[in-house]
């Protein structure tokens, strides 16, 4: 029996199906999950998610979120999950630029949440751009 992967964003369920193995960007670096993994909850960093299905490796750019791992399931909650063809390079670049400008403006203030939000936006845009550019 294979691993069941479910990727859910607030807008929709992006993927749900049986996969070989899953590699995801965890809080402590990339981690691979095989079938029979110990139950685990981990925070996700923006980055690349890979899973194997029918002998092919699929790659998605994901935002921050969480993953719940049990013996036979991986439930992934994230605010973004985009395939290579869904990424709009110009848009991602622009979002990154905007966030960087704002970050420069408020970096001396102590609004911690705003800072972490902007950093997340930048990291998310980076993840998208990395994926897009590497494929090409």
């Amino acid at each position: 029996m294979a691993l069941h992967l479910e990727i859910v964003t607030p807008e929709k369920t992006v993927f749900s199906g049986a996969v070989g193995n899953v590699y995801m960007p965890g809080a402590n670096g990339e981690m691979g999950v095989l079938e029979g993994h110990a139950a685990l909850v981990t925070a996700l960093e923006p980055g690349e998610l890979r899973y194997e299905q029918d002998g092919r490796i699929h790659t998605l750019a994901v935002g921050s979120g969480f993953a719940e791992v049990t013996q036979e399931r991986v439930n992934l909650l994230t605010d973004m999950a985009l395939g290579e063809d869904e990424i709009d390079e110009a848009k991602a670049e622009e979002a990154m630029k905007r966030a960087e400008e704002q970050l420069a403006k408020i970096s001396h203030s102590d609004d911690a949440e705003e800072l972490s939000h902007l950093r997340a936006v930048i990291a998310k845009s980076m993840a998208q751009l990395n994926l897009k550019r590497r494929v090409r």
């Binding site: 607030p10 809080a27 685990l40 049990t70």
Partner: protein, 297 residues
């Protein structure tokens, strides 16, 4: 006694009204479909998030995190989610009634113009007001959730609830007041009530949770909780906004359908009356002519 021209004029005006309500009905129907899909799509996420949280909860004491802390008494704040536009049946009235009955005197933060006007007029203190686009973007829930969280953490309010209209079906929308902060196991358990779909669906992980499987946490339990709780509040607010939006469009479509039907019925009645009058006029005219002819003979 209405004359022919008056009736003709009325038919024309009712026809115009029917045309407008029909157009509004179609627009609402299209928006309704989108909003309903959005509301339903969010439920998957809510489901999963809820499950992870319930699993987490078993690893924590009540009150071990500032956002989980229960404080006695104190001031209450209600986030009121209403609509910007009217013509959607009794949607806002019902919600307003419920708020006045259950949370009298609570301070409010509003989304949507209708209940803001109504509640400020009846003396509720308005803390702030938000405008949310249609369809609801996820990013717009963030500032609202952030303000609520800050108000709670600063101790200005000790209990924060959300008043919104829960979308049950196209014909049924239920005004609901749900507690948001502090997050309690009770909030988590009740959540299923207004997230309707997914109820009774038992997945593998539910069994695991029931068995009390111990989860590993990465980086560590507190770190996970720190990041997960704000996300949870964010998402709660978003989901409630979306549910309200779906309710609004459904209610509007139903209300407009009723209005169109009534207008059409009215047109029918008026047309009947118009024809009767016309016939009577013709008969009278004929009668006059024949009488005149008879008189000439």
């Amino acid at each position: 006694m209405a004359n022919l021209r008056d009736i003709r004029r009325r038919i024309k005006s009712v026809k115009n009204t029917a045309q407008i309500t029909r157009a509004m009905q179609l627009v609402a129907a299209a928006k309704m479909k989108k909003a309903q899909d959005q509301a339903l799509a969010g439920r998957d996420y809510a489901d999963l998030l809820n499950k992870v949280l319930v699993n987490l909860k078993t690893n924590f004491e009540e009150g071990s995190h500032p956002l989980l802390e229960h404080r006695e008494g104190g001031k209450e704040l209600v986030l009121v989610i209403s609509t910007d536009k009217g013509l959607c049946g009794a949607l806002n009235t019902n919600l307003g009634k419920k708020i006045r009955a259950e949370k009298p005197g609570a301070d409010i933060i509003t989304v949507g113009r209708k209940l803001r006007l109504q509640l400020t007029k009846t003396g509720s203190h308005l803390v702030s007001d938000y405008e949310v686009k249609d369809p609801v973007p996820f990013a717009e829930a963030r500032p609202i959730a952030k303000q609520l969280t800050n108000l709670f953490l600063e101790g200005k309010y000790d209990k924060i609830s959300v008043a919104f209209t829960n979308f049950v079906s196209t014909l049924t929308q239920e005004p609901t007041i749900a507690p948001l902060l502090p997050i309690s196991s009770c909030t988590l358990g009740e959540k299923q009530d207004y997230e309707g779909v997914g109820k009774g669906q038992v997945r593998e992980t539910d069994h695991m949770a029931a068995l009390g499987v111990d989860y590993l946490f990465e980086p560590d339990p507190m770190g996970v909780l720190d990041a997960l709780l704000p996300l949870y509040i964010n998402f709660q607010v978003y989901q409630m906004l979306v549910e309200s939006r779906a309710s609004e469009h459904s209610a509007r479509m139903v209300a407009m359908k009723a209005a169109t039907d009534n207008a059409n019925k009215f047109i029918k009645e008026l047309t009947l009356e118009y024809n009767k009058l016309r016939q009577a006029a013709i008969t009278a005219e004929l009668l006059e002519i024949t009488t005149a002819m008879k008189a000439m003979e």
